[in-house]
């Protein structure tokens, strides 16, 4: 099923990413930030895909911890690695935007600091997984669940605390104020989530091959 869907998914994702720059270039300019606001289309889309990645990691980790499902653990591990990749790009693109919009590369405010902590938690997940030795799968699964639990707080932090980051009301009013911008946001968001699925399938495939290799080594030793 996954193998059958993989090629159409790759083609669709590639087509969407080929069209994305045209859609972004044709989207209207925002009245106060002007050109630099164009970063927003990939920046927000990254965080959308990251939300999907940490959710997949949490569900996979929970399935492994409570049901002992090894396939779910492989999916959670792959999603955690992708969460690190997406979070890295989210922080870099946000920093580039902030330099122009706020005049600083970085600000230790609630939202930015919590996003940085999320990156640290998932980097910790990968380090535990690589160097933790036997049993590290369960420890990293717990880290994946707690890491994912911070994601809603990061999303709402701009509303709850005083930060320089735009509030979530931007998304609520964008569809009403500027429908062409809204359409491009969702187009890019969908493209990023599809790219996440493609990379997840590849990464899970790698983990399955590694599991197969381990099984072969065990058979050779027996």
């Amino acid at each position: 099923m996954v193998r059958k869907l993989f090629t159409p998914l790759v083609v669709l994702t590639a087509a969407m990413f080929a069209y994305a720059p045209i859609a972004i270039a044709n989207a209207p300019y925002e009245s106060t930030m002007l050109l630099v606001q164009k970063i927003f289309y990939f920046h927000l889309a990254t965080w959308m895909a990251l939300a999907v990645a940490v959710s997949v990691c949490a569900v996979g980790s929970a399935m492994y911890l409570f049901k002992g499902h090894e396939g779910a653990d492989r999916v959670a591990f792959a999603a955690a690695e992708l969460a690190v990749v997406y979070c890295t790009f989210g922080l870099i693109s946000g920093s580039l935007w902030g330099r122009k919009a706020w005049g600083v590369w970085w600000q230790w405010d609630a939202k930015l600091t919590m996003a940085f902590m999320l990156e640290m938690i998932f980097l910790g997940y990968l380090i535990v997984r690589k160097y933790g030795g036997p049993g590290s799968e369960k420890l990293s699964a717990a880290m994946g669940i707690f890491g994912a639990a911070t994601a809603p707080f990061i999303y709402k932090s701009a509303d709850w605390w005083r930060t320089i980051h735009p509030q979530t009301s931007v998304m609520k009013t964008l569809g009403k104020n500027a429908p062409p911008m809204w359409n491009v946001v969702w187009f890019c968001g969908t493209a990023f989530v599809l790219l996440f699925l493609v990379l997840l399938a590849l990464r899970v495939g790698l983990e399955e091959r590694r599991a197969e290799l381990d099984r072969l080594y065990l058979e050779a030793e027996a």
Binding site: E30, L34, K38, F42, F89, L96, L199, L206, E212, A220
Partner: protein, 96 residues
């Protein structure tokens, strides 16, 4: 009494003229909540933000290509190791 009547007339005149006065004052722009699309972009605004936008999109491209390459490299290593192991196993079974 005359003074009181004068004050009442002045008060009434003031109350009647106030809305007209307020209306003639320039109104502040309506409050906006969120992004508002601008139709005309001043050319001076295009250049300074350009490197940041290009940098962000280039960074995404580099990161994704790098990550895909890293998966391919790791997959290659695992496949090579599997082939070596299979060869070793088949050699071992033929010598027994």
């Amino acid at each position: 009494m005359k003074l009181l009547r004068c004050a009442a007339i002045a008060m009434m005149a003031l109350m009647l003229s106030a809305p007209a006065g307020w209306a003639s004052q320039p109104q502040p722009p309506p409050a906006t909540d969120g992004f508002v699309a601008a139709n005309d972009l001043p050319p001076t605004e295009q250049l300074p933000a350009g490197p940041f936008v290009v940098g962000a999109y280039s960074c995404f491209l580099v990161l994704m290509v790098g990550y895909a390459w890293s998966i391919a490299r790791r997959l290659n290593t695992v496949e090579k190791e599997m082939r070596t192991l299979e060869q070793r196993q088949s050699r071992g079974s033929s010598t027994r």
